[in-house]
Symmetry: D2
């Protein structure tokens, strides 16, 4: 085939599928990947009873985990293996049991090996729950095992 360079949109989707398949932590948290386009990702999580802290609201660490996961998809879905070097989060409102949260990550800057990504977490009623900013660092390697068009084989 001559069209071996995958479409960026398809590549993003394939990267996110491969990432999620091996990510036991996001699976444990019930996080779902709703959308993944180059430099952007939209994830969701429902607040379960076992995610509540002593104030009966979602533990901040799990809000962070949702945002951090969205960040990871946004910065890896061009198939360049990329890690988080640091992140900050500001908590604006609480999430309660049963709330459906969505986290949307967007690339703000990427040059050389480093990038900046912003994530917003919203509640189902549109309330802004938290804002997150992640700093990424690109390492060697790719997300997908090779650069051929993604097949439906399972990734390790």
């Amino acid at each position: 085939m001559t069209d071996s360079a995958p479409d960026p949109e398809q590549l993003a989707q394939a990267c996110s599928e491969a990432m999620h398949e091996n990510d036991y932590a996001t699976q444990m948290l019930g996080i779902r990947i709703l959308e993944s386009t180059p430099g952007r990702a939209l994830l969701s999580m429902v607040v379960r009873t076992d995610m509540l802290n002593g104030h009966a609201v979602c533990h901040g660490g799990l809000l962070f985990a949702l945002a951090d996961s969205a960040f990871a998809h946004a910065c890896n879905n061009t198939n360049k293996a990329t890690l988080a070097s640091g992140c900050s989060i500001d908590f604006l409102a609480s999430a309660r049991e049963g709330d459906l949260l969505t986290a949307e990550a967007r690339e703000r800057s990427r040059s050389g090996r480093t990038g900046i990504y912003d994530v917003e977490i919203q509640r189902q009623d549109g309330t802004l729950i938290a804002v997150f900013r992640g700093r990424s660092y690109q390492i060697r390697g790719s997300v997908l095992p090779d650069t051929s068009p993604p097949t439906e084989e399972k990734t390790a």
Copy 2:
């Protein structure tokens, strides 16, 4: 009773016990409260298989959750209800399955309603895994339901 003002060390311990008992999220993550003294806390977490991300290292969100929990104990254990307003974390090294992580939180500053707390996460071999800084905001109310001496409730 004349001994109504509890010893600060005992109060810190009682606050942490009460907090942990109702914190389903830290229980779900297997986090243990090793020490809680006024403005300081030491917690531990073992990295389980379901805490790994696609790189087979502990998900950054769960490292954050450990640090954030240590921060919560350190800023609430003087029995003044206090929330996290924002946090930042820098990731320095990875944690793998089976690693025993400890997070030590210390108060750096507290005046008026706000405070700053630093947390370090270390691996069992002493390697520094992450540094975390939390900003706290004191709200109305106390951690313990009243100021009477705590009962001998079990600690997790």
Copy 3:
């Protein structure tokens, strides 16, 4: 009088004028207030020789000062006295002598006494130089000495 409630746009302008008149630091740095609308501000600064560090680029502290000033105008221009409690900045590209920098601050969130503001610094060619996030804390008092219509004091 029926016109006692000032127009928000005029109020923002008046607040920024009053703030800038007494702000010796921003004057010393040659910072100019280009626009000030409720929750938003646009400022500029030209990089002078005495703003360069040893790498012959603008000192990061002075980039921060520009962003922080834009943040201050955006969070005070509804005439509620507000302070910065903390800020973070990420440096993306350098600014050199003679560069004309603009910093645009926008409110991301404001509820209760606290707010989050994002600032971008750009170079004259549109290059993104830095991103900044500020956390605000509203105190007692107003920016303008009273709520009467502002006088025609000069803007810097």
Copy 4:
């Protein structure tokens, strides 16, 4: 001389002297380098009238500039050219005209090309004014033009 590898303490001092000589911004702010040892630096600044903002306290940007300068010395004084990639600051108390501020920077972590440095700003009475955390990124090159022993150039 055969002992061409300089003593780390002397090297740190020489790096700071070389950096400061070309740093017009820190000179403009009257910043002085009090100590520079490997991975650590202590700087001072006196709050001048032209450093005050509209609240008659030191502009946060100039507090940041002091902390950022201390960070720069601490992360460059092993003679490896290093830049700030990002920083955060939390403001705890105000500084007024005439206050003598000191900023002490210390390395918290350094591995590969990146590092974490903490800076505290104190007032002459010991009050903690601000805490700052900087992330460094090592680039090619050295601080000193070559590795020959530093000459007796004057320190600011």
